[in-house]
């Protein structure tokens, strides 16, 4: 059985234990232990009913832990005292877990870690590796997060927006170590779309699929960044693009626009262009206008300026930059790009070098330094 299939069962099994009256933190620990055992046992002895097996083993792990625990009596009382869940729960277990793990009382780092463990079924070690922190640090972060949400009622609807933010953060972390966080974020978002009919959940899934489709084209040898305009579009994953576009169209048809749908629409327009020159920049500007209207996010305004520069010329792009805070991340890089398009290579080179100094990542810094170098070389000739 594939690991992903096993992990997909995680939230439902936690839900079963919670319904039997086990508190969330204890249930989550028991299911982790059962997952570890499944990874060990299943390859040689696959169960006929994987979920039933996981429930049974998790329950046994819980009982073992409860027996070993010094506060055993208190727990047993608790199990009996917990009222049986009433009929007609407002949300299903898996959905309830998404809400709980993204609870607004959690910091984003804690919400991300808890989601990956309780909803994603990843081990603490895998999560720690993915975020480049020691396993003990991640274990501590997760147990503190569980204490924070200990008082939250389990089967209660939460705010979809906080869940989407957590999934977005996981996706953007990209790829480091054994776990492909982008793929995991897509899996969790896809699973969420099956549980809740919400146009922004679909919008986020579309956004992820459309960006994931470009992954192979985004970096070259040695981790070198390849900007969108220079990507080899034959490397784009057409299957993911088709799915992303389909998911987006279904979401847009419901006529309740949100920021993820708007961002996905921009990504879809890029995906639609077979060459950079065929890009429909006028429509992209329109979508940025929507995005700015929806979020009033300065980063959206910054990206809009790039699109305006392509649609209406570099001068218009520079005009669209006016009034934006120069301290915004990537402001200098955008300004450099627009000055180059406007023919002012000296200013562009200076701004690229400035952007390189404040770049938030090494690949971006190398890329921006190369851009400055390219222009300085042209100026010397």
């Amino acid at each position: 059985m594939e690991e992903a299939v096993l992990r997909a069962l995680t939230p439902a099994v936690i839900g079963v234990l919670v319904r039997r009256g086990v508190d969330f933190a204890t249930a989550e620990d028991a299911v982790q232990d059962a997952l570890v055992e499944a990874v060990r046992v299943w390859p040689t002895d696959p169960p006929r009913d994987p979920k039933g097996w996981l429930v049974a083993v998790s329950w046994r792990k819980f009982l073992d832990a409860a027996r070993a625990d010094t506060s055993r009596r208190r727990r047993e009382v608790l199990v009996e005292a917990e009222p049986a869940p009433g009929p007609g729960e407002p949300v299903d277990d898996t959905l309830a877990l998404y809400f709980l793990c993204a609870h607004p009382s959690l910091t984003s780092a804690s919400a991300v870690a808890l989601t990956l463990r309780a909803v994603g079924g990843l081990t603490t070690r895998q999560i720690a590796q993915a975020y480049l922190v020691p396993e003990s640090t991640m274990a501590q972060r997760i147990s503190r997060a569980k204490r924070t949400v200990a008082g939250v009622r389990f089967n209660q609807p939460g705010d979809v927006a906080t869940v989407l933010r957590v999934l977005y953060l996981v996706f953007n972390e990209g790829y480091s170590g054994d776990v492909d966080l982008a793929a995991e974020a897509i899996r969790l978002t896809r699973q969420l779309t099956a549980r809740i009919r919400h146009e922004e959940v679909a919008g986020l899934l579309a956004l992820m699929l459309l960006h994931h489709a470009r992954r192979a084209a985004r970096t070259a040898a040695g981790g070198r960044l390849v900007p969108l305009a220079e990507q080899d579009r034959s490397l784009w994953d057409t299957r993911l693009i088709a799915e992303g576009v389909q998911v987006l169209q279904n979401a847009l048809a419901r006529d309740r626009l949100g920021e993820y749908q708007a961002q996905a629409a921009i990504a879809a327009l890029h995906a639609d262009a077979r060459t950079t020159e065929e890009t429909d920049w006028v429509q992209i500007v329109e979508w940025y206008d929507e995005l700015v209207r929806l979020t009033d996010n300065p980063v959206a305004r910054l990206n809009r300026a790039v699109a305006v520069g392509e649609a209406d010329g570099a001068r218009a792009g520079l005009a669209a930059l006016a009034g934006l805070d120069h301290g915004l991340p990537r402001y200098s890089a955008v300004a450099a790009h627009l000055h180059e398009r406007a023919g002012d290579l000296a200013t562009a080179a200076r701004l690229y070098a400035e952007a390189a100094r404040s770049a938030p990542s090494l690949p971006e810094r190398d890329h921006l330094t190369r851009q400055a170098a390219r222009l300085n070389l042209a100026l010397r000739r």
């Binding site: 080179a349 100094r357 938030p360 810094r365 190369r370």
Partner: protein
């Protein structure tokens, strides 16, 4: 095995042999340099000597405690500090000689014209836990 820190500085240390800022190189020279650094780290992973490599932003702030109930005092950034760390690599190697050898190789990363940069790197041994058998 012993751990060593190979420190790369933006500024500070002995006078550099060449001092052409990177944005005055050609894009190909930059790519070759970046590739060399990647390959170097990958090779040390293969030999089991790599521990960690990080780069840090040139902009930093000095911070200190300012007394009970008061926010910490900050100072800087200082544009003209004499010494400025750019990044580091931590290696775990058999001997000090091996640490010097690797630092030498790292310093040979190509620069302008594909020629070795001869960049000064600082090698600092880690202080370790005390040994179990001390006499």
């Amino acid at each position: 095995m012993a751990k060593y820190l190979l420190l790369k500085h933006y500024r500070g240390g002995p006078t550099p042999l060449t001092d052409v800022p990177m944005d005055k190189w050609t894009p190909e020279e930059i790519s070759a340099h970046v590739q060399y650094m990647h390959d170097f780290a990958a090779r040390l992973e293969d030999t089991g000597e790599f521990v960690d490599a990080q780069a840090v932003s040139p902009e930093g702030t000095f911070v200190r405690y300012d007394g009970e109930g008061r926010p910490p005092v900050t100072d800087g950034p200082f544009a003209e500090t004499k010494d400025l760390i750019a990044g580091w690599m931590v290696i775990d190697v058999e001997s000090y000689e091996r640490a010097l050898e690797l630092a030498g190789e790292l310093s040979a990363a190509p620069g302008v014209g594909g020629k070795p940069l001869h960049e000064w790197l600082e090698v600092r041994p880690f202080l370790t836990a005390p040994p179990t058998i001390a006499e």
